[in-house]
Assembly symmetry: C2
């Protein structure tokens, strides 16, 4: 006999009343509540979550889909886990390592009611395929996905990029190189456009020969610095796809005795912990806030509440590399 039944028996009350006490329903006499609560304590009772989930159709679990983990993603995840917990939700992590099959597991779990909703940090399956799962529960993505088939909390990185450009310009740097990420990504496109329109509006030379692509990690950054140093002309400043790239560029520049920022200014992106330690000027990316928004967006449909979003903004963090 389950503990639930035991409570019924001992208290003399029915299933329904016991359930009401468990769920803090107001329609219970103080006496009944007292008696039942006591017995529950006595029995060290805790409800079986599977039974509750089966009955209510809610698991109070949300999945996070990602292919890899690193500091930036961790920032997003940790914040999400915290926010979710405040609302009584647990977070379960699906790391696909780039395998579409494994990734799909997360979506099948939404279908099989193992999770109530899903957050996509990075995914490898075709967005159109994933879109089909939206009928089984709310899904929200961090980054913009394809043609907005799936809602996202993405910000336009061009805004951040402009901040960096204005800063460099005000400091007198005009010969500016760019270390971009994936050439075809929406973010890169957006940044490139921002750069070009800014430079043109100031009647400055758009130095497309100094565009570098696929600069993600610090070793990519080192590599990028090498190419710049061995090129015909050193730029006065570099804008980086992220802080890791900036770290690589900075350390390789030091190795080559290039003075930063006198000979070369460096601006990172994201504002990770390490860039604070190393004194790298960067653009603060409100990742934690985006994460919170992601949860709120799910919660709006799960809890049938209003969604209130506030506009988030990037911020320039001036440090020693400019």
């Amino acid at each position: 006999m389950s503990k639930f039944d035991e409570i019924m028996k001992r208290s003399g009350y029915s299933k329904a009343t016991v359930s009401r006490v468990i769920n803090h329903s107001p329609y219970v006499s103080d006496e009944a509540r007292q008696i039942i609560t006591d017995i529950m304590k006595q029995l060290n009772y805790i409800p079986n979550r599977n039974a509750v989930s089966l009955s209510t159709g809610q698991t109070k679990q949300i999945g996070i889909v990602t292919s890899t983990t690193g500091e930036i993603i961790l920032t997003f995840m940790n914040q999400f886990i915290d926010t979710a917990m405040d609302f009584g939700f647990q977070t379960i992590i699906y790391t696909s390592r780039g395998d579409p099959e494994i990734e799909l597991q997360a979506f099948e779990d939404l279908r099989s009611k193992r999770v109530d909703g899903l957050v996509i940090i990075a995914c490898v399956n075709d967005p159109r395929k994933l879109k089909a799962y939206m009928e089984y529960g709310p899904i929200v993505s961090w980054q913009r996905m394809g043609n907005d088939e799936i809602p996202s909390v993405a910000m336009d990185q061009a805004e951040g990029y402009k901040l960096a450009l204005e800063h460099l310009f005000s400091r007198g740097y005009t010969r500016i190189a760019n270390a971009f990420g994936r050439a075809e990504s929406l973010n890169t496109q957006s940044r490139r456009e921002a750069f070009e329109s800014f430079m043109k509006s100031r009647r400055l030379h758009v130095w497309t020969e100094a565009y570098q692509y696929s600069v993600f990690s610090s070793s990519d950054g080192e590599e990028a610095m090498r190419r710049m140093a061995e090129g015909p002309e050193l730029p006065q400043a570099v804008l980086c796809s992220n802080d890791y790239a900036a770290i690589g560029i900075l350390s390789e520049a030091r190795r080559r005795n290039i003075q930063v920022p006198e000979q070369l200014a460096i601006v990172g992106f994201d504002d990770i912990e390490l860039s604070r330690v190393l004194g790298i000027t960067t653009i603060h990316n409100p990742i934690a806030e985006q994460s919170t928004q992601a949860f709120h967006q799910l919660w709006a449909v799960l809890g049938k509440t209003e969604l209130k979003t506030e506009q988030l903004t990037y911020q320039l963090i001036e440090r020693d590399t400019t």
Copy 2:
């Protein structure tokens, strides 16, 4: 009507037979299997995991309890997630951030049958309190906990330390400093003993004045290096509690123009990615393997199978800092 019922109806078979097909029971005629499988496909059927869990008493979910996340812990977690997945288990992460209440949630989840088992990476509650939860499901810890109240897959770090010592000794370094972690931790104790007995056996001076404690992060390492440099006598070599500490010591040494390894040799611990990039000699810690062992230990009781453990060993990784 649920899809399950729909399948019953359409196929004309009973609940039991449908269930048998779902679970690949051999006691089904080919015909029945065929018909039912077809209808399942047609209906795009997937079992409700809550119902399955309620019925079987198994969730196929395992929780990982940790207070923080970082590269080392991530290594352990990622490997665990992979291994678990191979056995059809999902992993759910509980990050307590040092809050005992939040941490306890994970254990309550074991009790409420949300997870089948638990792995402890780092915890803040009293081991004796946690031990009480072992009656609800298997629990295994990465590090040794208290008086072995909870089983662990820990290794004796002294073994790794000896490797480092022998290496330094063979290279002729005898004036050796130690940058330990938490002064009272079992690991530190174990390392200190290993150090002292090694030195004594070689009739070398045990330089206790050069013991430094609470050196965890790279900035702790920088701090430690500062103290060493400002001390009366520079050691010939430093043994570090982990690679981060080694990184800090290395970078601060460079800043002070102390030649590594000519004036100062450095040995890290764990063998993280960054120490490979930076060329730091270190002791390889088989973290992924310990993680796998942790799962196997849980699986032994969940799957009622034999537990086969192989002895893991540390390994010296010689690089540029010695």
